[in-house]
């Protein structure tokens, strides 16, 4: 299939547009069926694309036949296809959950959801830095609307901060782009990586400012330390499926750091080699530390999960700062695991909060949960995975990350940080679990039961964790190969330009 690489962008886009038209517009059930069918098709396409990228090498889709470096390209290599599949899987879980009733809270839930998927998939697939900006905007404007979906004071309050911060981020992104285009004269990522080597010293200083501005923007999306303050409030106030979908948004920022600051400003970049590292190191470790403190200080399960997202971002940013092939491979494994599990935790938190009545998901004594066995089981699976206890995927992921740091000088920082953070998360989650499930009053529990779709959505996300362990060999082999592809410049740069094959 020649056009396979663009389908993960086109399919959700057209689904979203169709959902706004008459046969679907006012019929929620039709919208649900159509959206679910579409997401199933997207899962199939993402899997096909991944298989193609694995067997036939990187798929480059040249839009309109304008050859790079001048035209717009989509690059479906091992990393981007893996992330597209991850995003689609997360969306499938979140959408299943939303179909049980969250989408009734306001209009246009499904179209907005699809537009956001378009943006995320596009950001993963694009091989052109200006389109990265465009897809960022697509996913952001959908996320603004999804965040306030359903209304309410808390959501509006969180959205004001989120929107203003991201608008400033977008302006800075454009400044960075302008500087890089002004000095390098190209916007194709692979071509930029070539041009950056031959910059003279005076231009290199200007380009450095551009590169670091981009790091600032990606740091804002990825919740890097001083730029993460928007995250807990935003994620905790969004409705559950939206928060679950947002779990992948920080990963878009991290993926962009991998793409831009490993490829363009990597070790080969002459004057601009590794410009991000002096900033990334302390900030990444700080992010991990502050996320851990945040988990400890959280008064509700949703806030705690939002802080767990920050922890996973911190861990991933540490691997980005390591800049080795092994670290990238570990990062990819950990990214699959942490995205899906934090997504599932947001969904579980919502169910718990609904079944506890007025106490919601606050850690206080309240009436018993209506379905303690089901939710308790889901909670303990998610908790074991996110803490990093064997036998689930968190353990493997954290071991891989720590092994990647083994032979570096920074090991004295990384190992204690990750281990202490895991221990503190263990304590915090145990406390949370005991309070939510066991410290109950005698008041009769509510009648509210979880909808089968909601259970299915959570199960879909949680089942990946044991699968990641059972098929660990194949997955780590794939991630290792993907990381090799990213770090091997003949594959990730030269092969994408004419005359480089």
């Amino acid at each position: 299939m020649q056009h396979l690489a663009i389908l993960p962008v086109l399919l959700p886009l057209f689904t979203g547009a169709l959902l706004l038209l008459p046969p679907f517009k006012d019929a929620l059930n039709r919208q649900r069926t159509f959206a679910l069918l579409s997401i199933a098709a997207q899962l199939f396409i993402a899997a096909m694309l991944l298989m193609t990228a694995m067997q036939n090498g990187t798929q480059m889709y040249v839009l309109g036949g304008w050859q790079p470096p001048f035209g717009i390209v989509l690059v479906a290599d091992r990393i981007s296809t893996l992330l597209v599949l991850l995003c689609t899987l997360l969306c499938a879980g979140a959408l299943l959950y939303a179909c049980a009733g969250t989408d009734k809270a306001g209009q246009y839930f499904h179209p907005l959801f699809m537009f956001q998927v378009t943006g995320i998939n596009g950001a993963f697939l694009t091989g052109d830095i200006f389109n990265l900006f465009v897809f960022f905007e697509v996913l952001l404007i959908a996320s603004y609307a999804l965040l306030v979906h359903g209304g309410g004071k808390q959501k509006t309050q969180a959205a004001v901060h989120y929107v203003i911060l991201n608008l400033i981020g977008s302006s800075l992104f454009l400044f960075g782009l302008g500087i890089l285009y002004g000095t390098l004269g190209t916007l194709n990522i692979a071509d930029m990586a070539v041009k950056v080597r031959s910059l003279d010293e005076a231009e290199a200083i200007v380009a450095k400012a551009g590169g670091l501005l981009l790091l600032l923007v990606f740091g804002l999306k990825a919740a890097l330390l001083p730029l993460h303050f928007w995250l807990p409030r935003t994620y905790a106030s969004a409705s559950a499926p939206v928060a679950a979908l947002f779990a992948i948004m920080t990963k878009v920022g991290i993926y962009s750091i991998f793409r831009i600051h490993t490829l363009i400003f990597g070790a080969e970049a002459h004057f601009l080699a590794d410009i991000a590292l002096p900033w990334l190191w302390p900030m990444a470790m700080g992010t991990l530390a502050i996320g851990t403190l945040g988990v400890f200080a959280s008064p509700t399960l949703r806030l705690m999960t939002a802080n767990l997202v920050i922890i996973s971002a911190g861990t991933l940013l540490i691997t980005a700062a390591l800049q080795t092939e092994r670290a990238t491979a570990a990062a990819l494994y950990y990214m699959i695991h942490s995205t899906l599990i934090t997504g599932a935790l947001f969904l579980i938190a919502d169910l718990i909060s609904r079944q506890r009545g007025k106490a919601e998901d606050r850690f206080v004594k309240s009436r018993a949960i209506a379905q303690p066995r089901l939710l308790g089981f889901a909670f303990i699976i998610a908790a074991l995975a996110i803490i990093g206890l064997p036998p689930l995927s968190g353990f493997v992921g954290k071991v891989l990350v720590m092994r990647a740091a083994e032979s570096t000088a920074e090991i004295i920082w990384i190992w204690p940080l990750i281990l202490v953070s895991s221990l503190m998360v263990l304590v915090a989650l145990s406390r949370a679990g005991t309070t939510l499930f066991w410290r109950v009053t005698n008041a009769p529990s509510s009648e509210e039961k979880a909808h089968p779709f909601e259970v299915a959505g959570i199960a879909l996300l949680l089942v990946v964790s044991p699968l990641l362990v059972i098929f660990g060999g194949a997955v780590t082999e794939y991630t290792a190969e993907a990381a090799h592809q990213l770090h091997d410049l003949t594959q990730s740069v030269d092969a994408l330009l004419p005359g480089g094959n």
Binding site: V134, H161, V163
Partner: protein
Amino acid sequence: MEGIYAFCVGLLTACGIFLALRGRTFPVVVGLTLLSYGVNLFLFASGRLKLNSAAVLGQSEQYSDPLPQALVLTAIVIGFAMTAFVVILAMRARADLGNDHVDGRLPEVPETPFQRRSGSQ
């Protein structure tokens, strides 16, 4: 020309950032708008400033770079949509939260003796 241009971009950006750091939503929205004007001009200059050089084939001796113009156009459209959204959101926040502060609540100002006197009446 370059000097004036750079000065204008700098002034717009500086004003934009100053206003974006204010506490009420209206100046913040104006600040974001100024910032996006600044960035649009900046993007336009990334293809270098030239006189008498069209971006169309056969229209002039020298050509100017057409790409920044396309980029600016995209950036303007996106910026426009975003501004519209943030204006609506600001109005919604004013209605939902009862004030126009970006934090959703007015900061506590220490009471002055005058206010205390007028408050007790």
